[in-house]
Symmetry: C2
């Protein structure tokens, strides 16, 4: 989830960029391990090896740390693979997303983002930004499928991506049932079958749809 | 979510039943307002108007309070309406479930159940019990639809119910987008279209499916 630091990328930002990375990673780890309620500037500063006055000066406090760290966490260059059928591309996307949550290093920070939204309105804004970003990038899987004639032309791209991901998040974070690769395949098949049946076609006969 | 107390139901349990209701309601409100990490026997006892030694004697501590309160919260006599088409019955079910989360009185306790699972393994067990109970009751919508010839005979009932509910929970608690009645209708249409396409048919060619 976090962009890998390449050798040539350190110098342009220098100490400021290194401090941001250290502070954002420390904030995400604190969120993952102790939760939003226990987040303090002091703990983040100590964990990051940065003086707390630096943290206060740049991030203002806990609010600023959360917002910037969640932005840092989504700041990578992931793009969906568009080389297969719509089912293959969606399954690849679902596997990448699930792997991120199950990964020992970055999984806890993803989980912390979801968990923090239960306790903080600023985290809710960050979660909106996270999904707008992820769903927006993955939507090219659907627009490509429409161009290829695999899905109806009026299909709502974001609705299909959401339909693939919702059962995965539901199993991980709501019902806590665990997620198998068969579950990912079923989620993809269901989303594609629904799209082909016209369920996700843009429509305006219902005033409540946005 | 909590069973309505009928006049004739109080006496059989007497003080014990009244104490349980007061303590469980207090625990759920504490969970909803302050979260699992801040839950204490002292706060629950004070809120319930019960002596803390009574709470320690009967529930043991925070663990016992959480487990029993979540059991109390799911202990009602809800049964799905089976009088309409499969789409109508599923939409009714989805509306009842969403109303429970949005209700000013019982919504916070439902939310507390979901949130507590981020912080407590005993809450995860309670969440499993909650969904096993709810999905199990709602499954009769699907078995009735199969009997009526509305869905393929080999349809996995729980998979269809989960498919209806997952996007609703996802919008409420993960992406935090809000849920309109049009979203409920779309979730029902998608689940039924997928079931009719055979996506939720029981199958065993994939060793990873349970």
């Amino acid at each position: 989830m976090c962009a890998e630091q390449q050798p040539g990328q350190v110098r342009p930002g220098g100490r400021t960029a290194r401090n941001r990375e250290a502070v954002c990673r420390a904030t995400l780890l604190e969120l993952a391990e102790r939760g939003y309620a226990a987040l303090t500037v002091e703990n983040v500063a100590e964990r990051a090896g940065v003086h707390k006055t630096t943290v206060y000066r740049r991030w203002g406090g806990v609010h600023g740390l959360v917002v910037d760290s969640l932005q840092f966490a989504i700041d990578d260059d992931w793009q969906p693979d568009l080389s297969g059928t719509v089912e293959e591309n969606l399954l690849d996307h679902a596997r990448v997303a699930l792997d991120a949550f199950l990964d020992a290093e970055i999984g806890p920070t993803h989980t912390a983002v979801v968990a923090a939204a239960f306790q903080s309105t600023e985290a809710i804004e960050a979660v909106h930004a996270f999904f707008a970003d992820r769903f927006g990038r993955a939507a090219s899987i659907i627009t490509t499928a429409i161009e290829n004639g695999e899905l109806p032309p009026e299909t709502d791209s974001i609705a299909v991506i959401r339909a693939v991901m919702a059962p995965i998040y539901f199993r991980l974070f709501i019902s806590r049932e665990g997620v198998s690769d068969g579950d990912l395949q079923q989620a993809v098949q269901a989303a594609v079958a629904s799209a082909r049946a016209g369920v996700f076609s843009s429509f305006d006969q219902d005033g409540e749809r946005s």
